[in-house]
Symmetry: C2
Subunit: 523 residues, 2 copies
């Protein structure tokens, strides 16, 4: 497990080291709370001890349903320090989805922020639920914490390939799947993030990106590794964001372009002469977004990935000649998804026989990835894992092209995912919710451009003889079934959907129709 | 060996990636020669193929005796790509030592630069010797190269714990020992160097540090990993150094403080407003050195290690309050050897029973290290390996103290402590006091026999153009800075100090000189 010249790779070592090296340095800001690295490590030890005292055994799952608060960050180290596996649940899911994830993951403990207790109401498979800042109706986080102690635990893992977290994806079909990360993968991906986002001990990182998204693209561990300062954030309100940027002299933020744009366009936005590194993913940064960010003094780093690859797998590496390009041309180069990160293997674009497509920038193929930055598999779903790993590469389901310079550009999500404010929305899931209404006979959902969210789902609906249904009634129906943000904003009633000869809906025709309609309207 | 979610860690991947990502970017400058990353990778493939065509089988050793030229850099990838193990030999060794290393390592091929053919004259155990720019008396490097081809080889290794290089240490007693590095260790240490020296694709790295020294502290691989530019250098002449710094807009150099000082004090030295990152090791940077570097616009990063730990193992991490300290106080903090790097385990200071000494900054103990940054062992020397790894930690043989802030300070090699009247006197401390005098440019302190005190410190001093200083004036200067008993009783002014190839003062030569002088004199 640990010998003179071999140490199992684990992010636990990062916090151990920063507590040793940067003990008195500011590690975490959360509202009025402040933790030095000594205090951060102590709190992690205390919660890890509390989990063990609560019966958590090696490999047991512990679920958290929290916004970006200190407790969520602590969990990223405390759960693995206790030998457990962290399941950080998307806070925007419905009660039914949260319940499913707790059940499927076999989580024994669930820690819930008071704002999300209603969402956790159906999670009845866990042994114990603890509420942070709760209403007195549940066991309190303080009770859990009180079971802990500062008795040290080794910041080590017996096998670097063991699971550290499970992140549930909003899959395209059926129920969400549990993506397993290993200690080794998390360690290496963290180092990759540090190098590509140029983190150092001077980093002050503002948590605009949800920690439940791929463990904050491994930044929960990476920023800790360099001894930077985490600035927590309950909700991404631009006024709060700017106030924290100024107060703490923030150097780095991560997030989807839509989120970054809402920040850049806030009334409080102002130029930061000391600079700001913005690492963005989830959609290609538009030329407008890049230009507006650069006007604020920020530098944009574009990365790309999925939950299955620890968040970012690729980075659009700057080339020496790019700074001299016209802004529009530079933005076009930078809008591509790029190349595998320093710790990743190549990123390929392949045809159905797994041959590389020509690097001509036009031939479409599927983006596939491989190596230490790929999940170990889907939890308790060997069939899905086998399918995703067919041919020895992870299949992203994303379609793209390979440019002559070796940079991959994403063209479309093969699985018809709508990315709204950085959140994946499965069109299939929305379609199924719509179809469950008795008046609906056929349906197709596509993503349409949205200034604020990047994309929003729009539904095309065919109604049957069962009767009439209005747009708002149908939207309410969807909201009663799945997370509110997944419900379409607009519904267009049509007499029939365009279909291929084999019966598949031709979504590209709906997209073309939508673009035409938008071009024709002044709105 | 390679699966969808597991890739063996190897520096070979770094060059494969940079050739894919930065194909047309300038990778190597060597005299008039220029290689893009495509050309660099092609040359590596060609030489790897040539080695295979010459009979190199997996695990076979290939020795190189070269200054910092492109062929030496190519060898760091070509030899492992061929499945071999690189033995990069110190160019300042004698013919007898080179012969011993070739024999002991079982090297089958030896590649020698024309300047060093005489040194290679006794290496008669190798199958073939190739001369770079030779005299026609030996097979030429071109002949070797001609056996190669551009037929691709996989940039992979079957086992990340396999040996990539063997570096022979200039041991203080007996024959040099062969320190084995693994692909995994080299990979992780390279990432550590990138993070701590803040390398990026904008890095332009000048090769003032010999590549034969711990494979250039793994920078051969690290600078390649980020897609930086290597600027080769046959010999560290300050005029050539400054000319290359200006011509190529060098961003990073590594080297011992004495080498850095000779560069800083050259007539050509001038301020670099764009900055320069100087990573230094081999001796503590003196306050004077740090101040003079900062005046040039350079930032000093102090690292510490040995051949057995891939070069640097620790780094003197800057703390947030250091920039605000008085220069002398800041330099004192920065002169310490610090803490384990981000990819390393802790660095401990222990007593003979392997207990940590108190963190009081005064109790001396041995510095020990552990983890992925420690060699896999000494080649064909299990007894020495076992001894070095006693108690599950690598024993550096260096003496130091642990400060209350967790930073280790090296006091001296065990043999370099002067014990005077039962008091330990650190020669480093006396040397730094001497160096703070403006007239002093180089210094070494040793212990000499003394009837009353057992030992007393004696200083050998080199003065610069700044002017003369007398023995008593210099002793008074030291006494004004540190305890009187630590000040040397005698000072000998010399024109230069004997140094090893890595810039370390050869104190044993000074001791021998002293003993001779004493034997010859009746005093």
């Amino acid at each position: 497990m640990q010998s003179v010249n071999f140490q199992q790779l684990t992010p636990l070592r990062f916090l151990e080291r920063s507590a040793e090296v940067f003990g008195d340095k500011l590690a975490v800001v959360c509202g009025e709370r402040r933790y030095s690295y000594h205090e951060f490590a102590d709190e992690v030890t205390r919660i890890a001890r509390a989990l063990k005292a609560s019966g958590i055994e090696p490999g047991d799952r512990v679920a958290y349903l929290c916004p970006n608060i200190a407790e969520m960050l602590v969990a990223h180290f405390a759960v693995p320090l206790a030998g457990g596996v962290l399941v950080a649940i998307n806070t925007r899911l419905s009660a039914d989805e949260v319940s499913y994830i707790c059940d499927h993951s076999g989580s024994r403990i669930l820690v819930v922020d008071h704002e999300l207790l209603a969402t956790a109401a159906d999670a009845d498979t866990v042994d114990e639920l603890f509420a942070i800042g709760g209403d007195g109706q549940h066991r309190s986080y303080e009770e859990l914490r009180g079971r802990g102690s500062l008795e040290p635990l080794p910041w080590e893992v017996e096998d670097e390939r063991a699971t550290i977290t499970i992140n549930y994806t909003s899959g395209t079909t059926g129920r969400p799947k549990g993506v397993m990360y290993s200690h080794r993968g998390a360690y290496l991906n963290s180092l990759g993030e540090i190098i590509h986002s140029e983190h150092s001990s001077s980093s002050v990182y503002l948590w605009t990106l949800p920690m439940f998204h791929c463990n904050g693209w491994c930044t929960t561990w990476g920023v800790t590794a360099v001894g930077g300062t985490h600035v927590c954030l309950r909700a991404v309100r631009p006024d709060a964001v700017w106030s924290l940027i100024d107060e703490h002299r923030v150097t780095h933020v991560n997030g989807a372009p839509a989120v970054m744009m809402s920040i850049a366009r806030a009334p409080e936005a102002h130029r930061l002469d000391r600079g700001l590194t913005v690492t963005t993913a989830g959609a290609a940064p538009s030329p407008t977004m890049i230009a507006e960010m650069e006007e604020l003094g920020a530098r944009v780093i574009h990365v790309y990935g999925l939950t299955e690859v620890y968040g970012p797998y690729s980075v659009c590496e700057w080339q020496p000649e790019w700074p001299g390009l016209e802004p529009a041309e530079r933005a076009r180069k930078l809008s591509r998804q790029g190349v595998g990160m320093i710790t990743a293997d190549r990123m390929r674009v392949v045809d159905v026989d797994m041959n590389d497509v020509p690097a001509d920038g036009t031939t479409m193929g599927e983006i596939v990835m491989r190596g230490n930055d790929v999940m170990t598999g889907y939890f308790r779903d060997d069939a899905a894992t086998e399918q995703a790993f067919a041919g020895g590469w992870f299949h992203s389901g994303d379609l793209g092209v390979m440019h002559p310079d070796g940079y991959v550009e994403l063209l479309d999500r093969a699985k018809d995912i709508v990315i709204s404010g950085g959140e994946n929305i499965s069109t299939v899931e929305v379609e199924q919710a719509l179809l469950s209404h008795p008046a609906v006979t056929d349906v197709a959902v596509i993503g349409v451009p949205d200034d604020r969210w990047g994309e929003r789902p729009k539904a095309f609906v065919v109604t049957g003889p069962e009767g009439e249904v209005g747009e708002s009634e149908l939207i309410d129906h969807v909201r009663s079934m799945i997370a509110h943000y997944k419900a379409p904003d607009t519904i267009e009633f049509v007499s029939a959907l365009p279909r291929t000869s084999t019966g598949k809906v031709q979504k590209y025709e709906l997209r073309a129709h939508e673009l035409e309609a938008r071009a024709a309207s002044p709105g």
